[in-house]
Symmetry: C2
Subunit: 178 residues, 2 copies
């Protein structure tokens, strides 16, 4: 049985949509904000997976990078507005790291998806701030919620942006769907 070391309801929903049987244990870890995007999300995924006991533990970390600068969960609506203004009308990168800790062995992988925002009017950004959906979301938006109205196009794995890179996970856990 897979153990998902994450508090994210989005990650739970993706595993459910795949029909995977799993349990959730929320890890208590300090996350790093240091390093290049790939190294950072893999390190954080590993910290989460290592923090939980189990035969097969999955840790995941998803982070938004704009011009190589990390954009995590906004602390308030002002910071959320600044994030969205920065994302407006252009392309940014969403990286996820995944780590499997199984029988003392550690396997890791990472994926990047490029997301391009529409050219948003100030009123559209205010509308999105008003939804409150930016809370607790890396980069201040949820691509599978009201935030779908903000996005023009994606290039790469869509589910990576929601919080779990599906093709990478299948490669790392080949018997995932059995």
């Amino acid at each position: 049985m897979l153990i998902l070391a994450s508090r994210s309801p989005q990650r739970r929903a993706i595993l459910q949509q795949l029909g995977v049987r799993f349990e959730v244990v929320v890890p208590e870890v300090e996350e790093t904000e240091e390093g290049d995007p790939r190294g950072l999300v893999i390190e954080n995924a590993l910290r989460k997976a290592r923090a939980v006991e189990g035969a097969r533990v999955l840790g995941v970390d998803t982070t938004v990078f704009v011009d190589g600068v990390i954009h995590g969960k906004p602390r308030d609506s002002q910071q959320a507005r600044r994030f969205l203004e920065r994302l407006n009308g252009r392309k940014h990168d969403v990286w996820s790291g995944i780590a499997i800790v199984e029988d003392g062995e550690e396997r890791t992988s990472a994926a990047v998806t490029h997301v391009t925002f529409r050219e948003l009017q100030p009123a559209e950004i205010e509308w999105y701030i008003g939804t409150g959906e930016w809370r607790d979301r890396a980069g201040a938006y949820a691509i599978q919620g009201r935030g779908s109205a903000l996005v023009e196009r994606v290039e790469g794995d869509f589910w990576n942006v929601v919080g779990l890179p599906v093709p990478e996970l299948i490669r790392l856990v080949p018997d995932l769907l059995d």
Copy 2:
């Protein structure tokens, strides 16, 4: 109030996720399979929108094209298997047409998203056939269900593949989110 002229639960879910108020009326139309991809999906979207009474009616048609050949809803599991074998390990196009009929005026638009399948093993295709999810799905897969396991990457609007191109709809109906 927007009237969605469609029987698709996926389209309903996308409008709900955007927070749009709407009603559903299922249109009775004969769909065409003639024409180039853009012309075909726009024509079918128009037929659906015209078939329903209302002040502002939205018709949508989504179709999968492989090498320019239409791949609609498979009639049985054998045809679904053939479709998936054809999609395996390569890129195909998903087109949606949208039509708004409002006060006697018709506005239309279309969007295309490129979807690349993973290199699937025969056992993976059989697993997906076994889920039954291919039923009633253009191209024989649902990208937002178990079918997420089949897809390596998308290029374009993700929601277009699910059944409703969100940025195109916002351009066609600028007050959609008000």
